[in-house]
């Protein structure tokens, strides 16, 4: 069989190899086109052909290996890094807050990066998660880890309640969610409801305080949020979302159930924020409505996600690590400085690098290729 494809039977080495030792060391059967090159390479044809074959095949197999392993890597590496981080930098509350922001940035990524809906009021889910979990822990005595699940469930409920907002587009959606978040805050902090929500007087979770367990909850949430985004990057569901983002009408025409898929993304995103809120509440253990409903939480999550690059798995993670780390490194005592710096950063991002770090990396790679 290989003999037939050999275009140059006159070359002695080739003839020799082809007739006497077909299985010498090159299984040339599958890539016949390489043989003449190997044969023409000279007297030591076989090793040359072998190395050539190897170099041709290995990137392919390494590629499939990478493709196969990369989702696990994308989940495992961040979790592993955060798991060892306390050994290097023992400020647990800072690390938990960073993990909370990773989850929030990935949540923004799910809804904005994949469907194009930008929720300015994203913090509403965060706050509801914090309150739902805290009240469940205080009023019904469920263990704190269950509280985290309750927090996510509470945020999903709010997401369902607000799901009609998905009918709005662009700016209307963004501002309507902002109004919704402000409304939820003003309900929760209303002194008239102090019997239920403790109104403006805040929550004290001191009785269940456990920094290590909360840290583990944070690790789990980071892993989950990475897994969700990796899944979206590689599944038909994620593809459908991106199709909706680009053009809802064409997506519907191609058989995508626009309403259902969009709703699912919205609820996943709200669950992530709710769980993040619960982890945060558990970690700080004493907080006021203004701390979990501050619009700056939305700002941070959006900036971190945009800075890293939305629509990618690593972008929001890297964005959060860099910017929130920077925030801590500068040692900003005055939150206004951070707000101002992030404000300017948003402006600069939009005007100069709309694709974020991931966009920059992509264009560098493209230029090199």
């Amino acid at each position: 069989m290989p003999e037939q494809t050999d275009p140059d039977p006159a070359t002695p080495e080739a003839v020799d190899r082809g007739t006497s030792t077909p299985a010498a060391d090159v299984p040339a059967v599958d890539v016949p086109a390489v043989r003449p090159a190997g044969a023409a390479a000279g007297s030591e044809g076989t090793p040359a052909a072998g190395s050539k074959l190897g170099s041709q095949r290995s990137p392919r197999s390494r590629g499939t290996l990478l493709r196969w392993a990369s989702p696990f890597v994308a989940v495992a590496i961040p979790v592993a890094l955060f798991a060892v981080a306390p050994k290097l930098y023992p400020n647990l509350l800072f690390l938990v807050t960073m993990m909370v922001y990773v989850v929030l940035a990935q949540g923004v990524n799910v809804i904005y990066g994949f469907t194009g809906y930008l929720p300015f009021g994203y913090v509403g889910f965060f706050g509801v998660g914090a309150y739902a979990s805290s009240l469940a822990i205080l009023d019904t005595g469920v263990p704190a880890p269950v509280g985290v699940v309750v927090g996510a469930a509470g945020a999903v409920l709010l997401g369902l309640l607000l799901s009609p907002l998905l009918r709005l587009s662009g700016a209307y959606f963004a501002i309507a969610t902002l109004a919704a978040a402000l409304a939820v805050e003003s309900v929760i902090s209303n002194p008239s409801l102090a019997g239920i929500t403790k109104g403006p007087y805040g929550i004290d979770l001191g009785s269940v305080y456990n920094a290590r367990a909360d840290y583990v909850a944070g690790l789990v949430m980071v892993g989950l949020s990475m897994a969700v985004v990796v899944y979206l990057r590689r599944s038909r569901f994620g593809l459908a979302l991106r199709a909706i983002r680009n053009d809802p009408v064409s997506a519907a025409a191609a058989g995508v159930d626009v309403v259902k898929e969009r709703m699912l993304a919205w609820l996943i995103s709200s669950a992530l924020a709710g769980a993040a809120g619960a982890v945060f509440a558990w970690g700080v253990s004493v907080f006021y409505p203004t701390a979990v409903f501050g619009i700056s939480t939305s700002v941070f999550a959006i900036v971190f996600a945009l800075f890293g690059g939305v629509g990618t798995a690593w972008g929001p993670l890297v964005g959060t690590a860099v910017l929130f780390g920077l925030y801590q490194a500068i040692g900003v005592s005055d939150p206004q400085y951070a707000q101002g710096i992030y404000g300017l950063l948003i402006v600069a991002l939009v005007l100069f690098v709309p694709g974020g770090l991931a966009g920059v990396a992509r264009s560098i790679r493209r230029r090199r290729a």
Partner: protein
């Protein structure tokens, strides 16, 4: 008695709210930009009134005129600087939203750092000393004067839009920028100028607002933007007359809640905004807001 008071003060507040929101409405007409920094410009107007009053003894009614050229110039330059980059991207509406969000955060932080982190207020005597009596009931003088001052400003805006050549060009750009360009209107210049005018309206509202909101503080911007947005959505986007209607409806709704359910009054703008967006997205007077 109580009801009558709530209705009249709601009406007076409503006229002021119309002024507060009219700038946002005008800016929205320009290439669908939602100026999320609108409330922060209002806040800056309030701080401007404070600084000029205590620094140079300028009465707020004069400040009202001083802020106009400053705001027009700032808006013109800002618009000229950012729109070329925005319009080159694939989703300018969304990006402009994010951009102005960033500008809003920057202004708020800068104001808190350089001006004051606390609320600042002016004595009501600097605008109108005496309470005024209308139909047997007394209202704060600042409220009556603010409403009386807002009306001619709104009238001037109306005349500018509907009776001047520049206003006609502005409306043409609002209706369709490409068509406007095709008939020889300098779209970019007209848009930039209108954006400046919209900021001037916001700053003027801020000068009056420092009295009506009981002071000015750096963090008030976001809330004011949402209120303004509620008013223009209520009155239907892009329609100046609608903004007046929206302002009055909002003012009366707020005052009624304040009177009968005072602890829930802060919810009014948010709930109104959400309800109107979901049930009557075209507003009370027409044009559609919902597209998805």
């Amino acid at each position: 008695m109580l009801l009558e008071y709530a209705l009249v003060s709601g009406l007076l507040f409503g006229v002021f709210y119309a002024l507060l929101a009219s700038g946002l409405n005008l800016a929205f007409g320009m290439q669908r930009i939602v100026n999320l920094a609108h409330g922060d410009v209002v806040m800056l107007g309030g701080f401007g009134a404070w600084e000029l009053y205590y620094g140079f003894g300028v009465p707020p009614l004069v400040t009202l005129l001083i802020v106009v050229p400053l705001a027009v110039a700032a808006g013109f330059l800002l618009f000229q600087a950012v729109t070329p980059r925005l319009s080159r991207s694939d989703d300018p509406e969304m990006l402009s939203l994010v951009l102005f969000f960033g500008i809003s955060q920057t202004i708020e932080a800068a104001a808190a750092l350089t001006l004051s982190n606390n609320q600042r207020s002016l004595p009501s005597s600097s605008l109108a000393g005496h309470p005024m009596t209308i139909a047997g009931q007394t209202y704060p003088g600042t409220l009556v004067v603010s409403a009386i001052v807002s009306l001619p400003i709104l009238a001037a805006l109306f005349l500018y839009l509907y009776r001047s050549p520049l206003g006609r060009a502005t409306r043409a750009v609002m209706a369709d920028p490409q068509e406007a360009a095709a008939v020889g209107i300098a779209v970019k210049r007209v848009s930039s100028l209108s954006f400046g005018v919209s900021l001037a309206l916001a700053a003027m509202a801020g000068v009056l607002g420092i009295f009506l909101f009981g002071g000015a503080s750096p963090s008030e911007g976001v809330g004011l933007t949402v209120i303004s947005f509620a008013v223009i959505v209520l009155g239907s986007l892009g329609n100046p007359l609608g903004t007046l209607v929206g302002g009055v409806v909002y003012g009366i709704a707020y005052e009624l809640t304040q009177t009968y359910l005072s602890s829930w009054a802060d919810l009014v703008p948010y709930v109104l905004l959400l309800v109107v967006m979901l049930t009557r997205p075209s507003g009370l007077l027409g044009r559609s807001a919902r597209r998805a």
